[in-house]
Amino acid sequence: MSDPVLSVEGLTKRYPGVTALDGMSFEVRPHEVVGLIGENGAGKSTLLKSLVGLVTPDAGTIRVRGEAVRLRGVAHAGSVGIGMVFQEQSLVPNLTVAENILLGAERSAVRGGIYRWRAMKTLAQEQLDKIGSRIDPGARTDTLTFAQRQMVEVAKVLTIEERITGEPVVLLDEPTSVLERDEIATLFAQIERLRRRASVVFVSHRLDEVLEVSDRVYVLRNGQVVAEVDPSAVDATDLHHLLIGRESGGSHYHDEAQRECDGAPVRLRVENLSTAGCTKVSFEVRAGEVVGVAGVQGSGREDVCRALFGAIRSSGGRVTLDDQPFRLGSPRSAVRSGVGYVPSERRTDGIIPPMSVAENLSMAHVGEVCSGPVLQVKRERGLVDHWVRRLGIKTPSPDTAIGTLSGGNQQKVVLARWMIDDDLRLLILDHPTRGLDVGAKSDVYALIRDLAAAGCAVLLLSDTLEEMIALSHRVVVMKDGEVVTTVETPKGAKPDPVVILEEMV
């Protein structure tokens, strides 16, 4: 067996409250396509960022052709032979294809600071020829389709061949997540072509694709490699079990606190809701019911939530709240109708870090603590003290900047922001436990149970299926922008996550 081109040994990266990589080890051999799969939070993105020098690991070694390297950035990673095709793409939109391919390493196309356009196009064409692409190097990048730009990125990554001796390792980060079916076929043909001159690491959460394209598959969970499998010897169901794993028992999710709500009136009724990312979505949520929305990236489930809160535009559909027509317009009108939203990106969308706990808490319902335009400091203080006590928020004082608290306490403040509204009718939770440690997660679960018991309808998006199934009464499964099925998840008869996972992919 040939020596590995790339090997990773015991890679560890800790963030406050979360261990993203926990002694991860794997290797890539020449001309091999290695698949990496894992749920959100399994450590995929941190791993990739470490491999191109965007994240400095706390411990562990990265070896390229046997030599330990300490990567300082994308350009440096390229100079040792590791290139990455980024999921969010890394081309400058207003430049030509040729300029993008050669950006930062123009070689003979620029002499003494002067551009030689003909040489530039020739050099770029050589790269495009490597992958057999017929894209015009003179075209402006923002006139291309996503799939075409991805090909340009592959061509750009291959420029590192000229800078190294030996063959490069190409990392493909979720390359299929926004491609159409025929585009995926083109990409897979491209990967086959690519392996003749490079090693490929294919990262995805779509199991069927990983099995189809990879020679070997590593399964990641909680920052570790939990299994190395041979795609020809396993099927998707085996992988599902490896992927999900088993965490703690029922008390973690406060299962006993789940209340029946069959007789409750329908709180939210969504009919044929459409946005840029979802089509004709229909479902209902009863008062006191927790409904999970499952789906992979690109399934459109985030779109549904954001459209309901008025944060993105919807292009059609009818929504009623307690049988009253509910106009999807702006977050402000949603809040006025008794709808709350806990966003997934807590630090950027959920809190205003330099402002105090008190200000962050009363933000959405300032009317509660004001007389006319004047803030009643005493009333605000009373309200904030009440909620800090009730939710057990650990903060030195209500005036502490919320950015200095732990993630779990920040999230409690965000939840309290909506709970102070007595008339809260619907709470949309977009990955409410992302980045929280186990204890904080459990606290958030308890709060969700309390809210439901008090009659609030809850719409839940979750990183893990296990969490979603445990908390929900029902799970609506979405795929490619549409609802494909609904799975009942009643207390005491929770289905196996695999049942839902198979509908998702």
């Binding site: 002067i114 551009y115 006139t143 389709t145 083109t186 840029a276």
Partner: protein, 354 residues
């Protein structure tokens, strides 16, 4: 154009949920929708159409407007603004802003007046004096660039500081006595004509050409587009962003220096306020032409359309007998309308405006 790699070039629109016309949100679940296509091109076409329309209207209204003499007058009046706008365009391409124009021009105007034959100093450096002045402008630009990139202060503030420094230097050089330009060669720039146009206009034409060459054929120019288009991606690709940002500011400063020389020739003496009003006009001209403040869009030639729009407008309004005070207000209204029109297609993406 390109030949698509995949089945159909606009697969995004053919299948599934069609995004609203034009630009969509950068990432909203389903398909990623790229940045708006050719917003700047639309803007440039619109301003070109506005320019033609304006010329037609003024020509019908006023026989004097369509005379050859008036064409020459418009071009001569546009010369200094054109050169300054060429420079400013490089800073705007970065996505930065330059508010130092009037200060730099003030300092350079006094410098050139004192270096060529003049009423105050015994110097008579002629063309060398002009070159030194352009170099001084570049030095001011370098200062703005270094302050912005090394101290990581927004260009809005650093260039405001450099503006004050420039005016201060100009006032010190002025020292209470205006230097009259006695160099016949520099005096000729504004007075002698070649093929009907003043030398100043020819210098401006040359400067525009040089600006376009820099934009099209040099690293400074191309990297300005890359940095303005996506600075983080440029950095990830190994582009030394700080160095090329600084270089773009220096190039801009050199053009301001040349603009100061031209203005001084027209004024006949070194004046601290030689650049008065030019900063606003130059930003307005660039934006009207399609060099948007977001960076990476437009270019030297597009900005020149904006320069003509502003100059023709001013000329037409004067001929129509509109008061100069009202003209400034009209110019302001036009800038606001032009910017609103330029950003119209992406309005729903502008969640937070500061």
């Amino acid at each position: 154009m390109s030949s698509p790699d995949t089945a159909q070039p606009r697969a995004a629109d053919a299948a599934g949920p069609a995004p609203p016309l034009g630009p969509g949100p950068a990432a909203s679940g389903g398909r990623l929708v790229w940045r708006p296509r050719g917003t700047d091109a639309v803007q440039t076409t619109a301003s070109l159409a506005a320019l033609v329309l304006m010329i037609l209207v003024f020509s019908v209204l006023d026989a004097q407007f369509r005379s050859w003499d008036n064409v020459v007058a418009v071009v001569d009046a546009a010369a200094v603004l054109a050169v300054v706008t060429v420079g400013l365009t490089f800073v705007l391409l970065l996505g930065a802003i330059d508010l130092s124009v009037e200060g730099v021009i003030g300092a350079c105007a006094l410098t050139v007046a004192l270096l060529v034959a003049n009423s105050r100093t015994g110097l008579d450096l002629g063309v060398l004096g002009v070159a030194a002045t352009v170099a001084l402008g570049a030095a001011f630009g370098l200062l703005s660039g270094v302050l912005s990139t090394r101290l990581r202060i927004p260009s809005f503030l650093t260039t405001l500081g450099v503006y004050a420094i420039g005016l201060g230097v100009a006032t010190i050089l002025f020292s209470g006595e205006r230097p009259i330009v006695e160099d016949p060669w520099l005096g000729d720039w504004a007075s002698s004509r070649f093929l009907g146009f003043t030398i100043v206009s020819w210098v401006a034409a040359g400067a525009i050409l040089v600006g376009w060459l820099i934009q099209r054929y040099t690293r400074v120019g191309r990297y300005a587009y890359a940095i303005g288009g996506a600075e983080d991606i440029a950095r990830l690709s190994g582009v030394p962003v700080a160095r090329y940002k600084t270089a773009a500011f220096a190039v801009a400063g050199a053009f301001y220096g040349l603009g100061a020389v031209m203005a001084t020739s027209q004024l006949g003496s070194g004046v601290v306020q030689a650049g008065s009003g030019l900063n606003f006009s130059a930003i307005a001209a660039a934006v009207i032409g399609g060099t948007l403040l977001v960076g990476g869009r437009g270019g030297v030639l597009q900005s020149m359309i904006g320069v003509l729009v502003l100059t023709v407008l001013q000329n037409g309004l004067i001929l129509a007998g509109v008061s100069p005070y009202a003209q400034q207000a009209v110019q302001g209204v036009i800038v606001v309308v032009a910017v609103a029109a330029a950003t119209w297609p992406v309005r729903h993406r502008l969640g937070v405006v500061k």
